[in-house]
Amino acid sequence: MLRINLLNNKGLQDEDSFIDLLKIDSSAEQPPIISSEVSKENKQKFDEIKKNLDEKSSSKQKRKKKKKKKNVKPKSVFFVAFILALATAILYLYFFTDVPEIIIEKMSNIKAAVNETKSDSISNITENEIVNEINVGQSIADQIFQQSKDLSLISGVLELLPENVQIIDFNLKNDNLSIICIVQDIISGENIKFFIYNHNNSFKPELFYIEKTEDAKNYQITSLTKILKNNINPNEYKYLNDKQLSGFIASTGENLGLEIEPLTISKRDQTVARQGFVYVSGSKINIINFCRELVSQKINVSYNDLEIKSGEATSGSSIIELKIGITIFPQK
């Protein structure tokens, strides 16, 4: 009797092979979190998997270090670059003092974030207090819930845009969603209008018109809409630390085949609310799915503002660039 087991190894199966436990590659996901409910036997098996993953990651890191050593540049170049960077930083801080300083997690590639969820280090630059904008009176769960809803609405609008859309402006700031884009047919515009006007509880349209472009070939959609706040039931949310969060965002993006930049977080201290940015680019449908995946997970992150641009088209399919400003909340 043929006994199929797709958990066995690839290739030719032994006639008697049936169960070949745990010869499986779980590298697609992060290693599991240890739980007290698990039996000792299971723990040992998962430890083995974890160990294998660690070995892989450490060998990767060694390779990376070797590569880094090869790329040594003359000291003078570093000196000039340092002076320029310092001058830029001073000017930046002088003119835009209310903008948080951005510190980037030095993950040299996304794969490392997905497989290892180990950020090597976080640069230690002066930490400014950036919590001012966060409404302390409102519960964190409320904010997460509301802003997840916003992101979900945005992905709904985005889904209605055709593949060949030319986005001029698409951003959400302070509950105002502004869209200016050019489409080839009027139906796409009508669809968006219908979507916005029929979400009475979510949108308050302030301006919406569709007009022919100057060359009379295409249509320009201009829309300004306020996203309304609903009465919210406070929801529980799951806390992810920075490593887990960057791993989650990177793996979500990578699973969808998106180009994703390392997560940018404003400061190291995880006990206060901090801001960050997520940058991804890819096809429209994957961006939509990315937003939905983020929204579906109730984690300690709210999505404050959002900006979408048309990126460079590659081999016939258009690319969209998405930037989301996030607030990362501390553990309850």
Partner: protein, 306 residues
């Protein structure tokens, strides 16, 4: 022991509960998968629903963490290959891999296994069943299971599990050939497995662009019914040459199919006798009609493997 049977539009799952030292019962549940046609949507929805199924299992905190899973056969590509006898194992593997590489446009993201099939005659060729599934799908399932501290022990294809159920339920007479049909959404026959003394052939039907089987390039929805299958059988295709056929569905609201299957050699597969023998209980709401019950064929087959 836990079982998860995944189909295109649902997850059927069950767990064994020990009531006392020598008394255990099992219960089966069902969740729908709301997916569009693309594979990404399937993968995302599957991940989400698997998570909730595994959380449900975990809530019970079972001592036995083993999980057996079946995945829909139409996510796989299956080939029956013949190669010369007398080759070494590594050579057989290379030849079979080469054959698969030449048969499929892109094999990079596929996970492929080859199984030896015993010959019906004493020919000089050996037969192998090669199964290829998307590696991503396999990884999504395995990683989800491992994350919840369960132990994946078996991954089967749904229709092969149904075949196991059938071979347990009915003794096959010598030289008989039987077919198992899996009917999917909108009366479409999805997969057919023909077996006699072992597996004889497997056919997967693709109706979208009908690239797989030219004879099925018919866009008339009226034709997607069992009459269509019967017509096919009457056309004497060698692959469809069998004595009895059994139908089961993964989309139980398929009344049209039910009315068509009524004779001694055309039956709806019934998993209930085997399930009650194994003390497996199904929620009353699913026990509507024969076709509704047949959706539990794959999980019943999975249960019979242990």
């Amino acid at each position: 022991m836990q079982w998860i049977s995944i189909s295109d539009n649902s997850i059927i799952y069950g767990l064994c509960e020990k009531k006392s030292y020598n008394d255990a019962i099992s219960r089966i549940f069902k969740k729908n998968l709301v997916v569009t046609a693309d594979s990404l949507s399937f993968s995302l929805e599957l991940k989400k629903q698997l998570k909730s199924v595994l959380a449900f299992f975990k809530h019970d905190n079972p001592a036995d963490r083993a999980i057996a899973i079946s995945i829909p056969a139409n996510k796989s590509r299956i080939f029956l290959n013949k190669i010369d006898s007398g080759l070494a194992n590594n050579e057989i593997n290379d030849v079979l891999n080469w054959k698969i590489k030449n048969s499929l446009p892109n094999t990079e993201n596929l996970f492929t296994q080859h199984y030896f099939i015993e010959n019906e005659d004493n020919s000089e060729e050996s037969r192998y069943l090669s199964i290829s599934i998307p590696d991503d799908l396999r990884k999504v399932i395995v990683a989800s299971v491992v994350k919840f501290y369960f132990e994946p022990v078996l991954m089967d294809l749904g229709i092969f599990s149904a075949y196991k159920l059938l071979s347990k339920s009915f003794p096959l007479q010598a030289y008989e050939k039987w077919g198992v049909w899996n009917i999917g959404k909108e009366n479409q026959p999805q997969n057919l497995l023909v077996f006699g003394d072992g597996i004889m052939s497997f056919i997967s039907f693709a109706f979208n662009n009908a690239s797989d089987i030219t004879v099925l390039q018919n866009t008339d929805p009226e034709k997607y019914d069992l009459q269509f299958i019967k017509d096919l059988i009457n056309q004497n295709y060698s692959a469809l040459n069998f004595d009895k056929f059994f139908v089961y569905t993964s989309s139980p609201n398929n009344i049209f199919v039910q009315n068509q299957v009524d004779s001694a050699n055309q039956m709806i597969l019934n998993p209930l006798p085997i399930l009650s023998q194994q003390k497996v209980h199904i929620e009353q709401k699913f026990l509507t009609d024969k076709l509704g019950v047949s959706q539990f064929s794959e999980i019943a087959g999975l249960i019979t493997r242990f």
